[in-house]
Assembly symmetry: C2
Amino acid sequence: MTLLVVGSTAFDTIETPFGKAEKCLGGSSTYFGLAARLFTPVQLVSVVGEDFPAEHKQLLADRDIDLAGLEIKPGKTFSWHGRYSADMNNRDTIDVQLNTFGDFEPKVPESYRDTPFVFLANGSPATQASVVDQMTDPRFVVADTMDLWIDNDRDGLLALLKRIDGLIVNDSEVKSLTGESNLIAAGKAALKLGPTMVIVKKGEHGCFVFSNYFHYALPAYPTETVVDPTGAGDSFAGGFMGYLANCDIISLANMQRAVAYGTVTASLNVEGFGVDCLANTDRATVERRYQELMQFVSGV
Amino acid sequence: MTLLVVGSTAFDTIETPFGKAEKCLGGSSTYFGLAARLFTPVQLVSVVGEDFPAEHKQLLADRDIDLAGLEIKPGKTFSWHGRYSADMNNRDTIDVQLNTFGDFEPKVPESYRDTPFVFLANGSPATQASVVDQMTDPRFVVADTMDLWIDNDRDGLLALLKRIDGLIVNDSEVKSLTGESNLIAAGKAALKLGPTMVIVKKGEHGCFVFSNYFHYALPAYPTETVVDPTGAGDSFAGGFMGYLANCDIISLANMQRAVAYGTVTASLNVEGFGVDCLANTDRATVERRYQELMQFVSGV
């Protein structure tokens, strides 16, 4: 089944201990889409400026990503410049220019409104809710969020959580959202806010999955070459949602495998600058790495 | 088979957000022993002062811990006072008095020298090596260490690593030992220093096991009630070594199960102050929690 993602498209300038990449293709919808397209066709709703080059559009279109929902507005594309610390566990934002993304009002094309699987990348709860409003009875809606919205629009976020099926957040976000300092308690508490599934991302430590039916812990893929962590969360979500949309049936077993596929696409993403690795990988590589991950967690 | 532990015995004063425990029974050999005795008889080599109360000895002796190697010297018992941060991820040492432990020279009783399984709790590499010197061809020797020795007696530590079978360290220690900033690379590099097995503890994030035959990742048991993290590492090591010594056969499959049992004993330990929980648990509780852990990591 097709899968809709609504989020940012950006120019990223990234500095890590491994080097620097200038003005490369980035944004949550891009990372998500390039991971998800390994499993299923993707529809993208986002906005860019008139400076967004044709080759970036071509790169996405060549990879099963439908751009009918990519709005081109007068002005410049969202741009971000970040610098990672030596151990890459922290990053400073050197510069951010929201430009055309500043007043993003997602317009879901008529042809996308029946799409059953929807991912709301990080954005204001109001923007995310406006997407849900435009959809016709979607089957599985998952949202990302961040501290900014947890701190500044808690009411809006809590209202959104009652309208979605899944929430993907990181460890500090779920603690801050629920007020629980223990991660297990926080994950369980987040379930009570509405979603039937909560995934807590822990970066190099893997993730937890909380649902009313099972709790599950999966370590990260044991990569030795983290070159650029940008987009790890979105490429995780892309692999997760892409696999699940391709299965079509939302069973617990499929959800569990989907988490492992998300873990794999995130691991591929961080091994290159920007979207380089994700854009140039294929399903066979994903499958090999999936088997390696299963071996790593099942042991002997 | 029997299992020998060589390490400290102490009076601990512990402050956590959940309360304060004064002058309670502590030390690496105690935490290790109380975890390991759930699986196999334990022989303890340590030192205390004349102030060490009979009831502490009784508590250990009542739990299958042989105290023939517990030396009582003139003076006071090692004492430690620590205070944990609000999230319990950091602790400050308020006071430490080495007392009789300051010049600890482990004397392995004649009757212990044939013991096949040996755990060298944290101590100077010279002290640890002196234990290996006293043993008659032990089958499986595992050591803990810490940053103090990695930084200040690297040569001594590297020499020790060539004489032992397993190393149990935490994530920052293995990075510092090997100079590798990536944890997977660090674990593999540590294997090249001598041990055939390296376990990297990651606290609430579980552990990695590195060997020449398999790499394995296991999340922590999903406990919601961390009351006092003191002794988590030693109670992990105790469960691991205790289970393995009880199996007697050192196979990869047994090692993998032993890691899960160590994870379980550590999770029981942190749910109470000092050794309270460990001293009052039983094998049936351990088995129930082992099954829960297996469920948590296998999912559906």
